[in-house]
Subunit: 323 residues, 2 copies
C-alpha cells in the first residue's frame, strides 16, 4: 500500500466520484477560535466517502473477476458504495445485511442494483453465508477497510484536501477524520504525507469506541469493550485493521474522542452554517474541531464530514440541540 496506488485510484475515479467542496463559515471559525474547513464527503455519491473505496476496488478487478461479481458485508455506507460501483461496471453484486437493518438502507442498496441477502444476527453466521455464496458463484469479497484498493480509493480524499488546502494557503494544520476501521484515515494519511506534509491526519472517535486512539497511544491494537451503544453507528468497529493500523501508527497524530452530544451539536451547526446534512458518525471530526480545539495545532483545521445518511428522527433531534 503506497501513494502510487492512491494516484492510480484517483485516475480510475476521475469523472465517477465527486470532487467534494471544502466549505467554511465565519460562524464556525468563531466557535473554534481558528479557521475551520469542512471536506463535505456527505455530498459524495451515495452520501459518503465509501463511494470512493467501492469504485476503486471494483475498477481494479480483472475482467474475469468483475464478470463473476463481488460480495460485501455491510448494513450501511460501504454497501451502497460497492453496489453503485458494481452496477456501473456491469458486475453482479451481493450484499449481506442483517435482517433487522433499517428498511430504508435495505431498499436503497437494492435500488442501486445489488442482490441483498438478509441473515438473522441471532441465529445465523454471516461469514458462513458469505463464504458459501462467494464459493458457489466465484464472487470477490470487498472488505470495508482492510483492503489495499479500498484504502487507496478513500485516500483520494486526501489528495483533494492537499490541493484545496494549498489553494487557500493552508500549510500547517490538523486534518480530522471520523474513524471506524481506519481505511479513510490511513488512506488520507498516506496522501497527505506525499502531497501536503504540513497537514497531519488525526482520527476522531466516539466515547467508548476509541479503539484507534488507544491503539495509537499504546502502540498495540486495542479492542472496544462494547459492540454497540453510540449514535455514531457508521464508525463503531471492534478494532483498527491489520493493514490500516501500521500506517496510522507511522503517520497519524493522537486520536481525538468526542461525545454523542458533541456530534449532535456539530450536526446542528453544519445544518445552520453550512447547509449540509451530516450523520452522527460523520460529524465526529467536526465536533472535535469545534469543541476540542485545545489539542489541535495551527490556526486552521480541516474536518472531513464523512457521510450524510441519517434518518429524519435523528436529524430532528440534532437540529433541536442548543448550540
Amino acid at each position: 500500500m503506497n501513494i502510487d496506488m492512491i494516484t492510480a485510484a484517483a485516475a480510475r475515479l476521475d469523472g465517477h466520484v465527486r470532487r467534494t467542496p471544502l466549505l467554511s463559515s465565519p460562524f464556525l471559525d468563531e466557535i473554534a477560535g481558528r479557521r475551520v474547513f469542512v471536506k463535505a464527503e456527505c455530498l459524495q455519491h451515495t452520501g459518503s466517502f465509501k463511494a470512493r473505496g467501492g469504485w476503486s476496488a471494483v475498477s481494479a478487478l480483472t475482467e474475469a473477476q468483475r464478470k463473476a461479481g463481488v460480495i460485501a458485508y455491510s448494513s450501511g455506507n460501504h454497501a451502497q458504495g460497492v453496489a453503485r460501483a458494481a452496477a456501473a461496471h456491469g458486475s453482479p453484486c451481493v450484499i449481506i445485511m442483517p435482517a433487522n437493518a433499517p428498511a430504508i438502507k435495505i431498499a436503497n442498496t437494492r435500488a442501486l442494483g445489488a442482490e441483498v441477502v438478509l441473515y438473522d444476527r441471532a441465529t445465523e453466521d454471516r461469514d458462513a453465508i458469505g463464504l458459501r455464496l462467494s464459493t458457489e458463484r466465484g464472487l470477490t469479497l470487498i472488505k470495508p477497510f482492510d483492503d489495499a484498493q479500498v484504502m487507496a480509493g478513500q485516500g483520494t480524499t486526501g489528495l483533494e484536501i492537499a490541493a484545496q488546502a494549498a489553494a487557500r494557503g493552508i500549510t500547517n494544520a490538523d486534518v480530522l477524520i471520523c474513524c471506524g476501521g481506519g481505511g479513510l484515515t490511513a488512506g488520507v494519511a498516506l496522501a497527505l504525507e506525499a502531497s501536503a506534509p504540513g497537514l497531519r491526519a488525526r482520527p476522531c472517535e466516539p466515547e467508548g469506541f476509541d479503539d484507534t486512539a488507544r491503539s495509537l497511544a499504546t502502540g498495540q491494537i486495542q479492542r472496544n469493550a462494547a459492540a454497540e451503544g453510540s449514535i455514531c453507528d457508521a464508525i463503531v468497529t471492534p478494532q483498527p485493521g491489520d493493514l490500516t493500523f501500521p500506517i496510522m501508527q507511522r503517520l497519524c497524530g493522537p486520536g481525538l474522542v468526542v461525545s454523542d452530544d458533541d456530534c449532535l451539536r456539530a450536526m446542528a451547526l453544519a445544518f445552520a452554517r453550512l447547509r449540509i446534512v451530516i450523520e452522527p458518525g460523520g460529524a465526529a471530526a467536526l465536533a472535535a474541531a469545534l469543541f476540542h480545539g485545545d489539542s489541535l495545532q495551527g490556526d486552521a483545521v480541516i474536518a472531513i464530514a464523512t457521510g450524510g445518511n441519517v434518518d429524519p428522527d435523528t436529524f430532528t433531534r440534532a437540529i433541536a440541540m442548543d448550540t
Copy 2:
C-alpha cells in the same frame, strides 16, 4: 444589462464566491422520469445566491462610494449577501430590517459586520428611514433585484450552469429557477442565451404568488393579490422588476407554479438524497422538476436550489413529509 456585465462580474467574484456543485441522485431521476441536476446555491457563502449579487454590486462601486458605504432593505438573504461583501471591501453597511424579523436573521446580519436599523412595520415608513440615512451619510442603495450589477452577479450562476451542463453532455434542458423579483432568473437567462442556447430559463413560484408566471403569460407586469401567506418567504415579492421583466419576457419559457407542500416534499428529498439543506423558497425549482414534469422539455432538467436559510422547526416539518 448584457452578457459582458455578467462576465465582468464573474471576474470580480472569482475567489470570493463559491462555484457551487451540480448534484444528482438516481433516486431523484426516477421520481422525475428524467435526469435531475441540482445547482446547490444553498452551499454558497451566506447560504444563498445573494452573495453573488451583493459582491457584484459592492465591487462595482467607485472608491468614493465604497468608502461612504452601502444600504439595503432586507429581512433575509439579500441582507447577508450585501453585508458580507461590504465587510470584505471595508465598506460601511446599513441594513434596514423590520423589528419583527427573526432574531437569528438580525443576529446573523450584525455578525457579518452590518449596522442593523430596525423599524416598526405598522407605524414607520421604511423608505423614509432609508432615504434619511442614505442622504445623511451618502450611502449607495443596493436593491435586491432591480439593479444591473446585482443581476450581473446572479447571472454568474448561469455561466457556471452552462459549463457544468456542457461537461455532462446536457445540451437541451429547462433550467428551473426559484423566482421572486427576477434578478436571478433574468441574470441566468442572459448567461444561458450567450453560453448555452439549448438551455431555457423558467421561473418557479409558489401558488398565489405567481406574479412572474402571469406576467409572462399576459405580456404585462402583474401583481400578487396578497403580500404574504406562503412558506416560501424568500421569493414572495409583489411583482417582477422593471429591469428584470423585459429580459425574462424575451428569454424565459413559461413559469411553473408549485404548492407549499410540493416545496416541503422537495426539501425532504434533497435532505435524504442529496444531503443538502434547502429553505422552502429555495425548493420551488426542485419541486417543479420532481412533481410538475409534464410541462418540461428534454430528458434532463436543472433546478437551482437558491438558498438554505431555514429554521429547525420548518426543516423538521419538511423532513417528516411523506415523499
